[in-house]
């Protein structure tokens, strides 16, 4: 049963990956006993299952996903939310207010207005209707501070790292809290803008080099170097001040 | 576009075709009956009404005086337009020509133009200044499938029946005289449209067959069995072998039609 690509090789849509008794996994399809790639990505073999880890894909919603979205419209009994994907999500007023919505009493824009950012969970989604969101679980709700960065959704697992190793390292090195939306939107909250910038730099680098090896070490190295550089600059400006 | 065809019917049509017959009893390579009447619109310089099964198309030609195109100063002008008028099908809406009627007009035009059916030099009155402009307007009156072949038959038949006015040049002006000359025609292109349904090729698809077909290919053949225009249509595909098979089939069918119409 032949395979035509090795693990970690880059494939393009239409590339014949394998022929025979294989299972078509992520970003592949099977036709005439052959498994083809359907997106640009990197081959990954999981026993008989062939996956292509996409290097470019948009976010496809799944029930249970944590996402970060922007309110785009205040409707009469809820909000429309942009979750960085082809489908617009809906957040019902009753979910936020934790009780039935009373149009005369409740002024929706006061609760959440156009432009507000929220961390939410997808409650339901299927082929016939748009994703429904909820914010009524702990850790979810309106975002009041921090910085947002968007990366390709398929890279989020890389930002998490094996057993959370990458994300824990970033949090530790930068002192920031990081919330990862599975839709590719990430919220970074630190005690200072500089710390947030560091975390963002690290995340951007992961986005660009996600398919390379030794990434965790390189990022750790980079963060340490950046922090050292910044400390130096700080000390320099301090010394200059005292010289006057 | 047209009414939704039920899944049951779709399956039925596909199964029959896989076995080699069609819902109206035809063989896979059989045409529906072709009937042509010419000269039915007296106000037009030429006209023809074609019935291909129940598909009905009317074509009329009008001749006007005009200027030649700058890169062909010695040639007259031929222009083909098609209208999918609303009364022809529940799926046709009033309005300017959409992509379907534009494609239809251009496929019909291509067959006529590339086969050099009309000797356009004979339409020239004064080189660079005055020529005859031949307008061919294709009017689809009832859509029961295969508008392309029916429209081509109608356009060609209308051109065959077209009479050009006699003229003389007096004091640098073109004056129309009494009497007419037949439009100078050299070739008679015939277009054959073939649908791919499953892995079978089906000639002259009817309306329901068009709704389930994977793709269609139209081949225009001239009097010497040359290919002068081809258009693959619809969002499916053909294998290279099917393309050659379809071209051969079109050539054979066009010979049959040519014999029948005595073109």
């Amino acid at each position: 049963m032949p395979t035509f690509f090795e693990k970690k090789q880059v494939v393009t849509p239409g590339d014949l990956v394998a022929e025979g008794d294989y299972i078509a996994g992520e970003n592949t399809y099977k036709a005439n006993n052959k498994v083809f790639a359907s997106r640009i990505g990197i081959i990954d073999y999981e026993n008989k299952k062939i996956n292509v880890v996409a290097l470019k894909a948009f976010y496809a919603p799944r029930a249970g996903d944590i996402v970060i979205g922007t309110i785009t419209e205040v409707g009469f009994n809820g909000w429309t939310v942009d979750i960085n994907g082809p489908y617009i999500a809906i957040l019902r007023a009753s979910d936020v207010l934790s009780r039935p919505f009373k149009p005369q009493k409740d002024d929706l824009p006061q609760v959440l207005d156009t432009g507000d950012l929220i961390v939410a969970k997808i409650v339901s989604y299927d082929r016939t209707h748009d994703p429904q969101l909820t914010v009524s679980e702990p850790g979810l709700g309106k975002i009041t501070r921090g910085e947002i960065i968007k990366i390709t959704p398929t890279k989020i697992p890389r930002v998490i790292g094996r057993q959370g190793s990458m994300i824990s390292m970033i949090k530790q090195e930068t002192g920031c809290n990081v919330i990862l939306g599975l839709n590719g939107v990430i919220l970074v909250t630190g005690k200072s803008v500089e710390e947030e910038q560091l975390a963002i730099m690290a995340i951007r680098k992961i986005d660009e080099e996600s398919h390379t090896s030794g990434l965790t070490d390189r990022i750790t190295q980079m963060l340490k170097e950046e922090k050292a550089k910044r400390e130096e600059n700080e000390n320099e400006s301090k010394t200059r001040k005292t010289d006057r | 576009m047209a009414e939704v065809i039920t899944k049951v019917k779709q399956k039925q049509i596909a199964q029959l075709i896989a076995k080699g017959t069609r819902i109206d009893g035809r063989g896979l390579t059989d045409h529906r009956e072709i009937r042509i009447e010419q000269g039915i619109i007296e106000r037009a310089e030429g006209s023809a009404r074609v019935l291909l099964g129940k598909t009905e198309v009317l074509a009329g030609t009008k001749i006007e005086l005009g200027e030649p195109f700058p890169d062909t100063p010695n040639e007259g002008v031929l222009t083909v337009n098609a209208e999918l008028v609303p009364l022809a099908s529940p799926g046709f809406e009033p309005g300017p020509p959409d992509e379907n009627s534009i494609e239809l007009a251009r496929i019909v035009d291509r067959g006529i133009r590339e086969s050099k059916m009309i000797d356009t030099e004979k339409l020239c009155i004064e080189p660079g200044k005055k020529v005859f402009v031949v307008f061919v307007d294709v009017y689809v009156l009832n859509h029961d499938g295969n508008l392309i072949d029916a429209s081509t038959l109608a356009a060609v038949a209308a051109l065959l029946s077209t009479k050009m006015p006699n003229y003389e040049i007096e004091d640098d002006e073109v004056k129309i005289k009494a009497g007419y000359t037949q439009l100078p025609v050299r070739r008679h292109p015939i277009e054959i449209t073939i649908a791919r349904i499953g892995d079978k090729l089906v000639v002259d698809p009817g309306l329901e067959e068009e709704q389930i077909m994977d793709a269609r290919i139209t081949v225009s053949i001239d009097d010497d069995s040359n290919v002068c225009a081809v258009q693959k249509g619809k969002s499916g595909y053909f294998t290279p072998e099917q393309v050659l098979e379809a071209a051969k089939l079109a050539r054979d069918k066009s010979e049959e039609v040519r014999k029948q119409l005595k073109w």
């Binding site: - | 001239d222 499916g236 290279p240």
Partner: protein, 246 residues
């Protein structure tokens, strides 16, 4: 205005631009050239300069066009007024409308439309400079733009034309050959599936010549397919080795 050349192919078998009958023009492909589009690609083929962009999948506007069970694909082929010898009006011509339709029908079979129902994908092609074979070059770029947008596809679509110049069947017609030659056969192919998704012809060819031209065009498509894959790998496949060494 250039004078018409007497012959398109000289006695030694060289065409006006020095090519032999089965040679492609020089092709340059670049993926991901526009920052706003979800996917994009740029092609230069001969003197053709064409930009393709993809927006989507996204909500369909106007809403009533939304399809419940699949993605809606729309395609707009458009030529810039300065792209051709004599200025072309920016309003869509009948030719552009037909080509937009024919191109959409050439790309649809490659896309898994059923995966994302109720969404739309818009493909925009702008011909900045035209030199014969624009629909094929446009398709080649559009397919790359679709892949660049992360839209799941069965295969890329590669397109190339063949034709007849003087008495020879030749590959990849340039502008003069397109205008003065006796036939033009544009073809688009999904190479791994052996599926022809665009096929047109105008001119006069015997059945044998038509068959020859189609086969030659298919060879051209396969060569172009390799260039497409290379272009995608150039954008997505580079491992930043230098940084890894730090």
């Amino acid at each position: 205005m250039n004078p018409k050349p007497e012959k398109l192919i000289d006695k030694k078998g060289f065409r006006l631009d020095g090519r032999k009958h089965d040679e492609l023009r020089s092709i340059k492909l670049e993926v991901g050239v526009l920052s706003n589009a979800d996917g994009s690609a740029y092609i230069e083929q001969g003197k053709n300069k064409i930009l393709a962009a993809v927006y989507g999948p996204r909500e369909v506007h106007p809403k009533h066009l939304t399809l419940n069970d699949r993605m809606l694909l729309r395609c707009r082929y458009h030529m810039a007024p300065f792209s051709v010898q004599e200025r072309k009006s920016p309003a869509p011509s009948r030719r552009e409308i037909e080509l937009s339709k024919v191109m959409r029908e050439a790309l649809e079979p490659a896309i898994f439309l059923e995966y994302y129902p109720r969404t739309g994908v818009d493909i925009f092609v702008e011909v900045l400079q035209a030199d014969g074979g624009t629909r094929c070059a446009s398709l080649t770029a559009a397919a790359l733009a679709l892949a660049d947008a992360g839209i799941p596809m069965r295969d890329l679509v590669a397109a190339c034309a063949a034709g007849k110049a003087d008495d020879q069947i030749v590959l990849d017609l340039m502008d003069e050959e397109d205008k003065l030659g006796s036939a033009d056969v544009p073809v688009a192919l999904m190479p791994n599936l052996n599926a022809i998704t665009l096929l047109q012809m105008d001119g006069i060819l015997t059945l044998e010549e038509f068959d020859q031209a189609v086969k030659l065009a298919l060879d051209g498509c396969k060569l172009i397919y390799d260039l497409q894959k290379e272009a995608l790998k150039t954008k997505y496949g580079t491992v930043k080795e230098t940084e890894a060494e730090e």
